[in-house]
């Protein structure tokens, strides 16, 4: 057990969507994990594996059906709206599509200032403006652009604005749900570097949801592999990528194309179907490395 309690402790999280066909397993089925302060936890898996549902559930955007979510020592899974309002200053979410995440009719300066207004911080306009300007500089944007509208920015810049908006209240956790999937290759590295720099500066924790297993390997400290709404493997990033235990993890990693023609020719990816549902328990096979039997 860690010395200090983790920032986020999720136990037995379960969520079933009403629109799901009868008899289908829940979207998220008894998921447990924790997130330490200043840490990045990757959630990987294919579409439908439940990774986004988990991300939204821990922010209580899609409250779970059952299970416990302890955030900064407080149980939030059944918290009241007003309690959640306070908690949300400490946890934020960044989405995949930065354009649809920003109100097109608001100036980007207002968009970044909005969380401050909602939570009643800095009633003094000049002071608030200075905080927003500082936030723009933090994410690599010139504060002079504060009066422009979202459509005047590129996808990468809009994602920077979304990150500025998420960070302005000084949260301890950000859920980043496919934050680079909609961006161009040459811009993805910029945003990943920005997220890493901001973590170094502010000690914010990330839940990094992505299907880009190379980027996950680069930015995450620990990774949870999801299949059918369950964690099938969870380990430190180096351990998971060099020593994957679960057949599904092996299959997923073997499918990642390597940007090296010689290695691509040499390798045999195992693309056999994987369908078993894995009803066993998570077993610790090495320190901090859990695999479902």
């Amino acid at each position: 057990m860690p010395q200090t309690p983790p920032l986020l402790q999720v136990q037995n999280l379960t969520k079933r969507y009403e629109s799901a066909p009868r008899g289908a397993p829940p979207a998220v089925d008894g998921v447990s994990f924790h997130l330490n302060s200043g840490e990045t936890l990757g959630l990987v898996g294919e579409s439908g594996s439940g990774k986004s549902t988990i991300g939204r559930a821990v922010c209580m955007l899609n409250p779970p059906d059952s299970g416990s979510i302890r955030f900064e020592g407080q149980e939030i899974a059944n918290a009241s709206r007003s309690d959640l309002r306070a908690v949300r200053q400490r946890m934020q979410i960044v989405f995949q599509d930065p354009f649809s995440a920003l109100n097109p009719r608001m100036r980007v300066g207002e968009l970044v200032a909005e969380p401050l207004l909602i939570h009643g911080r800095y009633r003094n306009n000049a002071e608030r403006k200075e905080v927003v300007a500082e936030q723009f500089r933090m994410v690599g944007l010139d504060p002079d652009v504060m009066d422009r509208y979202p459509h005047q920015f590129s996808g990468g810049q809009c994602q920077r604005i979304c990150i500025a908006r998420a960070l302005i209240l000084g949260p301890s956790m950000i859920v980043a749900d496919e934050p680079i999937a909609a961006l161009d290759v040459s811009i993805q590295a910029q945003i990943v570097n920005l997220l890493a720099d901001l973590q170094d500066k502010t000690k914010v924790s990330y839940i990094f949801i992505s299907h880009d297993l190379r980027m996950v390997q680069h930015i995450c400290h620990r990774v949870a592999v999801l299949f059918g709404g369950r964690i099938v493997e969870l380990a430190g990033v180096a351990e998971l990528y060099s020593n994957p235990f679960h057949p599904y993890t092996q299959r997923l990693l073997s499918a990642v194309p390597i940007p090296d023609p010689a290695r691509e020719r040499a390798r045999q990816s195992s693309i056999t179907a994987f369908t078993s549902r894995n009803d066993g328990d998570l077993i610790e096979v090495a320190s901090g490395h859990f695999v479902r039997q």
Binding site: S186, I187, H218, A255, I258
Partner: protein
């Protein structure tokens, strides 16, 4: 059989330029693109949004809405036939028969109110003049070939009854139904999961082999490129900035943009090392309303020379590189930089 020593290109593009009319003037999407594609060659075109890679592919099939699009110059010859002056009827015949195309989003390419059997047989009856029975038999064969389980019964299903990966397989079945000589895939696996992507790539490799097709594969994923390309062509701001055999492009890139793309990828072999910054390309792609005077990548290029800002470089054989390795650059990258982590 054609003579192997002097093969004729299947597709010849010369000086192709395409622009779009907008409220703010013209966007110059493709600017003087020229290249040859040989029969059975797999050409991967790499570039980001606005590089002109998709627009140039759509102009091969004459699928661009004209207006607002306008092909301002150039020639596209497929198997000796000029496509830019071809009649509508000739283009109808060519699409499907000569050239098949697969797009990124299969759901928007399939008709939601028709069974997939109907959509495949439509192509076969139109192009191959098959009767209903023969077309149905062939449709089941095709579905089976692209590994749709229980093809004989699934042929009666509607698009929404399939998964994303299966829908893309169905699109491939339609694209190859008439044995085209060229398959164009535009970000065909971008929306799919990695494992599904690996399956689709494997499928296209097999089909290419069986049907002796050439393939133009448009993608931004350099991992996919490394796995399937014979030739790689890197596009930026509507032009080709580098082109060559796949190994040459990955091991000996000569354009700073190509190098930047390769370096911006996380190093997967470095699993145990400390998390270090990715080598990012600063800035962003240019606004194509006004074409820059020089090399469009110059403002983002740490190796740019004075000349890069004033005069556009043309695509030419790279010095001391393999024959056919072409680059558009005024600088010699070998003296300036090297690929991170490459042997």
């Amino acid at each position: 059989m054609t003579d192997a020593r002097t093969p004729k290109p299947l597709l010849q593009i010369r000086d192709l330029s395409v622009r779009f009319k907008t409220d703010r003037g013209h966007v110059h999407a493709v600017n003087g693109v020229s290249y040859d594609l040989m029969p059975e060659e797999t050409l991967c075109i790499v570039g980001e949004s606005g590089s002109g890679k998709s627009v140039h592919a759509l102009s091969i099939l004459r699928l661009l809405p004209e207006p607002p699009a306008e092909i301002t110059s150039g020639s596209i010859r497929f198997d000796g036939q000029e496509l830019l002056t071809a009649s509508r009827q000739a283009m109808f015949d060519l699409r499907g028969n000569g050239i098949g195309m697969v797009f990124q989003n299969p759901m928007s390419s399939l008709n939601p109110v028709l069974t997939i059997g109907k959509q495949i047989t439509e192509v076969l009856r139109r192009h191959m003049k098959m009767d209903g029975k023969a077309a149905h038999r062939r449709a089941v064969e095709l579905l089976d070939r692209v590994r749709i389980p229980n093809a004989a019964s699934r042929v009666h299903s509607y698009p929404h009854e399939f998964s994303g990966g299966q829908r893309q397989r169905i699109m491939i079945a339609i694209a190859i139904a008439c044995n085209p000589r060229l398959l164009i895939a535009d970000e065909a696996t971008t929306a799919l999961d990695v494992t599904t992507q690996a399956e689709i790539i494997q499928l296209v490799r097999e089909l290419k082999w069986e049907q002796s097709m050439a393939v133009i594969w448009i993608t931004h994923d350099l991992g996919v490129v490394a796995g399937i390309a014979d030739t790689v062509q890197v596009m930026y701001a509507g032009g080709i900035v580098e082109r060559g055999p796949v190994d040459a492009i990955f091991n000996d890139p000569r354009n700073a943009y190509t190098l930047g793309l390769l370096n911006s990828l996380p190093d997967v072999s470095d699993a145990h090392g400390a998390r270090r910054s990715l080598r990012q390309i600063d800035g962003m792609p240019p606004d194509l309303h006004v074409l820059p005077a020089g090399d469009p990548f110059a403002p983002r290029n740490p190796y740019a020379t004075q000349r890069c800002f004033s005069e556009p470089p043309s695509l030419r054989q790279a010095e001391g590189a393999e024959p056919g390795h072409l680059v558009a650059a005024w600088y010699d990258l070998r003296k300036l930089a090297r690929r991170e982590g490459a042997a």
